[in-house]
């Protein structure tokens, strides 16, 4: 963790003359021209996807990117800023999803249920995060990883076993509040060739909430609280000696991160109109999150944006490329198997290992090194 994202050089300077953008980004600017361009294009594309592309797949991909940006950014708060490896992040993601799903399916498809479901999910996540944190963070950081892994597995098993509440392996499909249903029309005429319907509103709900939560997380890591977390990450002993209660700070970080993950889970369920073990709880999603954080760049919130966008796009489109490559190499032993479309995780895994060794700052760290 040597390449820390320490204080930006001109922290006070940017804050004094910073405009509205600076304060929105909490004075934590991209600090690299290439990075700014990439981030802005991702933002612009996500904001305009429903008007730029037709069909449901691009919008679905964009919504997934939005949700995963929040999920990965909240995980980065733990991994990158606090130096804690948790494997229970999908558990909180799942709690958010199930909160919405259960409330909308079992109670009624209204905004009231959305509020109740989210509130209950947030409460449960907070309690669980505090319990896990107090039990394991006080012992040794390494226990935390193993204990969270065990707890997350237990949660996944529990969710699939309590089928009368959670729908078991099949999950829950549910109706959204009327304003978010595809049949709902805001205007009778299309705007810029796109019908403004409930589906579009649902997308912009996901987009707006993701943006707000992301900016809030950016604010948190750049607050004095965030600096203490980084201090603990760099040297726990010294931070303790300075009078910061390490356990309290770490627990607080894991609670904040759990809450953000819960919101992401709720958004995911709202978008898919479905929640089940495979969409939010499975261990493979946890691995995806790890890959996104590390490849994008640990300890830089922007890494979450780039990691999530890259990964979700790769998930959708890299396989096509690899399928072509695999077909071209047919006949050679083993080699076609290695670039078989289902083996895309192999290459991302290799990239992940190389990232940890060679670019601890991930893509963002690399881009920032290039230019001041």
């Amino acid at each position: 963790m040597s390449s820390s994202s320490a204080l930006p050089l001109a922290f006070d300077e940017t804050r004094r003359r910073g405009g509205i953008l600076t304060s929105l980004l909490s004075s934590d600017l991209p600090r690299s021209r290439a990075l700014s361009v990439i981030l802005f294009s991702i933002f612009a594309l996500l904001a305009a996807t429903p008007f730029l592309f037709s069909g449901s797949q691009p919008v679905g991909t964009a919504a997934k990117i939005c949700v995963f940006i929040v999920l990965v950014a909240s995980y980065d708060l733990l991994l990158g800023y606090s130096g804690i490896v948790s494997f229970a992040h999908t558990m909180f993601f799942g709690i958010g999803g199930y909160g919405i799903a259960i409330a909308l399916e079992r109670v009624s498809p209204t905004w009231g249920s959305v509020a109740i479901g989210s509130a209950a999910a947030l409460g449960l996540s907070a309690v669980l995060a505090i319990a896990i944190g107090l039990l394991s963070l006080r012992v040794r950081a390494i226990f935390f990883s193993m204990i969270t892994l065990a707890v997350a597995t237990a949660a996944a098993v529990l969710a699939s076993q309590l089928s009368e509440i959670t729908g078991g392996e099949d999950g829950l499909s549910f109706q959204l509040p009327p304003a978010l249903r595809p049949a709902f029309r805001v205007f009778s005429e299309p705007v810029f060739g796109t019908m403004i319907n409930g589906r579009l509103l649902a997308y912009y709900l996901v987009f707006a909430v993701s943006l707000v939560v992301f900016l809030a997380l950016l604010r948190i890591v750049n607050s004095p609280f965030g600096r203490v977390l980084q201090a603990i990450r760099e040297n726990e002993f010294r931070a303790e000696a300075l009078g910061y209660r390490v356990v309290a700070y770490r627990t607080a970080a894991s609670v904040i991160s759990a809450l953000a993950a819960t919101i992401a889970g709720a958004l995911m369920a709202l978008w898919l109109r479905y929640n089940g073990p495979d969409t939010t709880l499975s261990f493979s999603i946890m691995i995806d999150i790890l890959l996104m954080v590390v490849i994008g760049g640990m300890g830089t919130m922007y890494g979450a944006v780039i990691g999530a966008a890259l990964f979700v796009l790769a998930q959708s489109y890299l396989q096509v490329l690899m399928g072509a490559g695999s077909a071209a190499l047919a006949g050679i032993p083993l080699l076609p198997n290695l670039i078989h479309p289902d083996r895309w995780l192999l290459w991302l895994g290799a990239l992940f290992i190389i990232s940890v060794y060679a670019f601890p700052g991930g893509i963002v760290g690399r881009l920032r090194q290039g230019k001041p």
Binding site: S145, M146, L149, V151, A154
Partner: protein
């Protein structure tokens, strides 16, 4: 346990290390506690033997990991992949010698099992050597990077298993004479579980003898206590560590073979599935302690079996509860060893 008991004057000879009996008593206490809830004694014996067998298999898979951690402060999240690899390595033997499994001869069947174990241990030892060199060695000293990088190693190796053996689950036959069960009155003991208990006990006793009666064992134990001092005395702790890492991987391979025949299906994710239990066990036992790992394995497996019988839905949560209780009682595990 208590410092008060230490004599204040220098003794003529070194005081014998006191054995910490309390955690050892947990296992029989747990068994007795479960008896009234289970009801019939014969069911209780069946459950206990089954639990012991499960515990032995978990112990085989966990022992290497805990030793590696104790010795070099390395936590290997990719350990599970050696379990899968060991399991898949049985295919190398079962492919050409499939006939041996169908033969109803105990000698031939056990020879097949032995051969599977040997080949699997060879394969995983080799894989362990490569894994240590390529994945683990560059990240000594940083737990965070170790967790990340070994997770990466896990992903890549699992995918390689998919690429080599295909992604769909592979059924494997349990050798003919190991199927079925011994029946004594009401008591039913599956044969294969008895074999697992025998092998597990043999490995545990072998490890205890190696650790407590040989020079290498002495060095390993010293290395767990204080690696710098061992190094300062002129021993190459690195070489020692690499061999322990390889041995630990081979043990995981052995556990993988036992686990594979128990499940009778192979999937690349099977190692990672059981890793959850392995982690719980080494946390309960105290990171770095082989004895603790043994007690922890049996404890976890017995609790899972009893609870699974009494209230099936609680089975997986029960492990977490056991872990939480143990950590509240002894935050460093049953037998705290590593003091880093």
């Amino acid at each position: 346990m208590s410092d008060m008991a230490a004599p204040s004057t220098a003794p003529a000879e070194l005081p014998r290390a006191k054995t910490d009996w309390l955690p050892l008593l947990l296992v029989p206490a747990l068994g007795l506690l479960a008896l009234p809830f289970v009801g019939s004694p014969s069911t209780w014996v069946t459950l206990t033997v089954a639990g012991l067998a499960m515990g032995m298999m978990i112990f085989l898979m966990a022992s290497g990991l805990t030793l590696v951690f104790g010795l070099m402060d390395i936590i290997n999240f990719g350990h599970g992949v050696f379990i899968s690899l060991g399991a898949y390595a049985t295919l190398l033997v079962l492919g050409p010698l499939a006939g041996w499994a169908l033969e109803d001869s105990i000698g031939l069947n056990l020879a097949l099992l032995g051969l599977c174990i040997l080949v699997a241990m060879g394969v995983t030892a080799l894989a362990g050597a490569v894994f240590e060199r390529v994945i683990v060695r560059p990240v000594y000293g940083s737990h965070l990077k170790q967790i990340l990088v070994t997770m990466g190693g896990l992903i890549v190796t699992e995918q390689l298993i998919h690429a080599i053996w295909g992604a769909s689950p592979i059924p494997i036959p349990l050798p003919q004479s190991l199927r079925g069960a011994f029946v004594f009155g009401d008591i039913v003991m599956e044969r294969y579980r008895v074999v697992a208990v025998v092998i597990g006990l043999a490995v545990f006793i072998g490890m205890q003898l190696l650790l407590n009666r040989t020079r290498i064992g002495l060095l390993i134990r010293a290395g767990v206590e204080n690696p710098e001092m061992v190094e300062a005395l002129g021993y190459r702790i690195r070489r020692l560590f690499v061999s322990v890492f390889i041995a630990g991987s081979a043990l995981a391979g052995l556990g993988g073979v036992m686990w594979a025949f128990y499940r009778q299906t192979l999937t690349a994710g099977m190692g990672m599935e059981v890793m959850v239990l392995v982690f719980i066990v080494i946390i309960i036992g105290g990171l770095g302690s082989v004895g603790g790992c043994f007690v922890g394995s049996i404890l976890v497996a017995l609790v899972a079996n009893y609870v699974g019988f009494i209230e099936p839905k609680l089975a997986l949560i029960s492990n977490i509860l056991v872990m939480a209780l143990v950590l509240i009682w002894r935050p460093q595990g049953l037998f705290p060893v590593a003091r880093r």
